[in-house]
């Protein structure tokens, strides 16, 4: 077991390195850097001015060197610029002194500075993740019980009318992407022209104070899309368990249907959905980006969109490191959890 976890962690680290390198390479392509220079300094710079601006700030070093500096395995640059000023990566606002550390990268805990928000990346990511954390928590509280209930109810009597109705509900919910259901919900429940006006169409106020009115629509919108998929997996696993030999034995023994479902079938039927729920996290991340943009909730997904559309290199790297870690850790947990929950599988 220990070796298995170690091996998975190694692969995880390698994946994270590869992914950040790809993001790093794509954000550091010359047209992107040119755009960055023009938005940061002066939009009417000539090409030579752009080059010297970038050169002075270390953007034109070879890619592996820059990546190493960002990671913190190579010493940060110290460049005497063409304008006579000396800039160093590790001394953001001035001339480097003797106290300036040589290395400043992710490994040293320095995530860099966002060029859009003019703030520390670690600070931004931390704050935004906190906001998204609340959203995710609420989504999980709605989605998981709802999906399991839907799946178990439709799977316990396969082919019954309840089953067909609930299966249709879950198909409809998987076929409704967040930007469609969000638009429909806002039009029905929040539109000031027509509609019921039960909830608010934006969640901006939920960043300070979460209320039922401003948080319901975003949560339901994300939960709905994931719910159908989990429910279908639960249903499949439940129908499989309900046709198993030991359930038939229990039935023949005279155990009541309620006890069969609750005591005999449920535990085995919930093993597969656990994996699926864990693997839903990457999808939820997608949903979070869409919903936070739609409802203007300035969390992690909103930050991703801002960083990506402004080519804010260090913020984008921070955001992608976090999201990649979320994806990989949930994969790891789902693998380990599957082994723990399912007594038939043993990793030697």
């Amino acid at each position: 077991m220990g070796r298995f976890i170690l091996q998975r962690a190694g692969i995880m680290l390698l994946t994270a390195l590869c992914l950040t390198f790809i993001v790093f390479a794509l954000t550091n392509l010359y047209p992107n850097l040119e755009k960055l220079a023009k938005t940061q300094a002066n939009s009417r710079m000539t090409d030579t001015e752009v080059v010297s601006w970038l050169e002075n700030r270390g953007y034109l070093q070879p890619l592996p060197v820059k990546y190493g500096q960002w990671l913190g395995v190579l010493p940060g640059y110290v460049i005497e610029g063409s304008d006579g000023r000396t800039r160093a990566r590790c001394a953001p606002d001035g001339v480097p002194t003797d106290d300036t550390p040589r290395f400043c990268g992710v490994l040293q805990g320095d995530w860099g500075t966002s060029t859009v928000f003019r703030e520390d990346v670690a600070e931004i990511v931390g704050k935004r993740l906190g906001l998204t954390g609340w959203l995710m928590l609420a989504v999980m509280c709605v989605m998981v019980p709802g999906a399991l209930l839907l799946g178990v109810l439709s799977g316990m009597r396969e082919g019954s009318r309840t089953d067909r109705t609930l299966s249709t509900v879950s198909i409809v919910s998987t076929a409704t992407p967040e930007y469609v259901s969000g638009v429909l919900f806002i039009a029905i429940f929040a539109s000031s022209a027509v509609g019921l006006k039960w909830f608010k169409g934006t969640a901006t106020s939920a960043m300070e104070d979460i209320t039922f009115a401003n948080f319901t629509l975003p949560v339901i919108t994300i939960a709905l899309y994931g719910m159908g998929y989990i429910a279908r997996m639960t249903r499949a696993s439940m129908t499989e368990v309900m046709t198993a030999q030991y359930i038939r034995t229990a039935r023949l023994k005279g155990v009541s249907f309620r006890n069969i479902v609750l005591k005999h079938a449920l535990r085995n039927a919930l093993i597969a959905p656990f994996t699926v729920i864990m693997l839903q996290f990457p999808w939820l991340l997608n949903g979070v980006v869409i919903v936070e943009t739609l409802f203007n909730y300035k969390g992690f997904g909103w930050t991703l969109v801002q960083a990506a559309s402004n080519n804010d290199i260090e913020l984008l790297l921070g955001v992608s490191v976090v999201s990649v870690i979320v994806v990989l850790v949930t994969q790891l947990i789902s693998d380990i959890g599957y082994v723990f929950l399912n007594p038939r599988i043993r990793i030697s």
Partner: protein, 484 residues
């Protein structure tokens, strides 16, 4: 001129009927769902002549009520649609007028269903689809949008206004608003679904948007399948280092948040560097390789026939490949303009490539696991004993036997690709902003959503019904393919 109401004068008779049936249906459905947990279904007794009779309990009566009220709803809806076609313009309101515009689609749908149901026993899996009600509903929804796309896009039979032209005074106007300057009641006298915030006709834009989606989504899915199959079969069949490497690559792409990937690939700066063109050059190579290997492995025992066939097929495929990847204004301009018959709008190519890129790893994983499973079968061992080549076994023994799950996944994946296209449009990536595709239209409509909800709703509902149709179709196919 008068604005159109939703149901026109027909509504005076039909609306109360619809309300009645809908109310009965809703009450019956809720009652059945709740009472289903409490009451027992009616007792069944076996008769002497071998038939079964069911006693009618309360549950059965509720079931009857549901059945008849549902039939009633369907009939009323049909009356709305038919009424709009038969009566003159305006009598059937907005719904009637739209139904009349969709007349070619209805005719094509009825013809398709009539032909397919008549010959369903000779049509294999496609014919069996017409045994499953869910599959039929899904197929109907999908074909509705396919026909709408074909008749509305290239044939230009459905739209009422130009999807890009603006009529002053119709900005954000509600559905059924009359177009100023037209006095005569007839096609084009109203904006059937209202105007968007640039005063363009929403109905025409929705129909035009269908053409964009129907062009890109199935083709992109097909390309993703070619890539996934060409890489997944050897990964599953050979295993070992090749498998480890390819699986690692696939997991790498899958670990990327899709939206981040889109932002990294589709922004104008990245397009300027030509990375999407190079990716297109790599990804579009796979269908050519697939075709070549497929035919070569089948006919290599007849060298003369094989060589001729390969020259013809690979010649055509290779030329198409070169024509597609060499586009003006990109770094890859291989063919001279004079013999380059295919020009693709740059935005569409980029969108296409990124959608294929995102979908291919999932297909790879499915094909790989299917190949792992199927290669243990006896017929594969038999082929190996016969001395067949590895690619023959993969493409002509394993692949045909994996077709069931692959066809089902293909349907689901077209739906997913549609969702991805919508996501791209929703973030304003790739396609030009005035493009009528559904994602971009939703993106534009959402900005004023709480004041004017009507511009965003038609494309949202259109996308929802198409994806739902594909999901139901996949469900029906799965059910029918499991029956034998």
């Amino acid at each position: 001129m008068e604005p159109l109401t939703w149901t026109g004068t027909l509504g005076a008779y039909l609306n109360p009927l619809l309300a009645l049936f809908a109310a009965v249906f809703a009450v019956a459905a809720v009652a059945q769902f709740i009472l289903g947990f409490v009451l027992q279904p009616g007792r069944t007794t076996a008769n002497a002549d071998g038939t079964l009779s069911v006693e009618r309990g309360p549950l059965e009566w509720i079931g009857e009520a549901m059945k008849w009220s549902f039939l009633g709803i369907v009939l009323v809806v049909l009356a709305y649609l038919l009424g709009g076609i038969v009566t003159p313009y305006g009598t059937g309101g907005i719904i009637g007028a739209m139904s009349a515009r969709f007349l070619p689609v209805w005719i094509a749908l009825i013809a398709t269903f009539a032909l397919s149901i008549t010959f369903k026993r000779r049509l294999g899996l496609y014919g069996k689809l017409f045994d499953s009600p869910i599959g039929m509903v899904g197929f109907g929804l999908v074909m509705f949008w396919v026909f709408t796309a074909i008749f509305g896009g290239p044939l230009d039979m459905i739209i009422t206004h130009d999807p890009l032209s603006q009529v002053s005074g119709l900005k954000n106007k509600i559905p059924g608003v009359p177009v100023p300057g037209i006095e005569e009641m007839g096609v084009g006298a109203h904006y059937l679904l209202g105007g968007d915030n640039l005063a363009r006709d929403i109905f025409s834009r929705m129909v035009e948007g269908a053409w964009i989606v129907i062009q890109i989504a199935p083709l992109a899915t097909l390309f993703a399948f070619m890539v996934g199959i060409t890489l997944g079969l050897p990964a599953g069949y050979y295993g070992g280092a090749l498998d480890t490497f390819l699986s690692f690559l696939a997991n790498l792409i899958l670990a990327f948040p899709v939206i981040l990937l889109f932002y990294l690939l589709v922004t104008p700066e990245i397009v300027a560097t030509g990375i999407p063109s190079y990716m297109a050059a790599v990804l579009f190579l796979f269908p050519v390789i697939f075709l070549g290997v497929l035919l070569n492995s089948r006919y290599y025992t007849q060298p003369t026939f094989r060589t001729g066939l390969l020259i013809v097929v690979l010649g055509i495929a290779g030329f198409t490949y070169l024509a597609i990847i060499s586009q003006r204004g990109t770094p890859l301009q291989i063919l001279p303009n004079a013999i380059d018959p295919i020009t693709i709008n740059g935005g569409i190519l980029v969108v296409f490539v990124s959608v294929v890129f995102v979908n291919a790893p999932t297909v790879f994983r499915i094909v790989r696991s299917l190949a792992l499973d199927i290669q243990t079968r006896d017929y594969v061992a038999a082929a190996q004993t016969r001395g067949e080549g590895a690619w023959y076994i993969m493409l002509w023994e394993i692949l045909p036997n994996a077709r069931g799950p692959l066809i089902v996944d293909f349907c689901l994946r077209i739906g997913y690709t549609t969702i991805l296209l919508g996501t791209l449009g929703f973030f304003g990536l790739g396609l030009p902003p005035e493009s009528p595709d559904w994602g971009s239209t939703i993106n534009e409509g959402r900005k004023l959503l709480s004041i004017y909800p009507h511009p965003a709703l038609p494309p949202a509902v259109a996308l929802l019904t198409l994806v739902l149709g594909l999901n139901l179709l996949a469900d029906g196919l799965r059910e029918e393919s499991l029956k034998d």
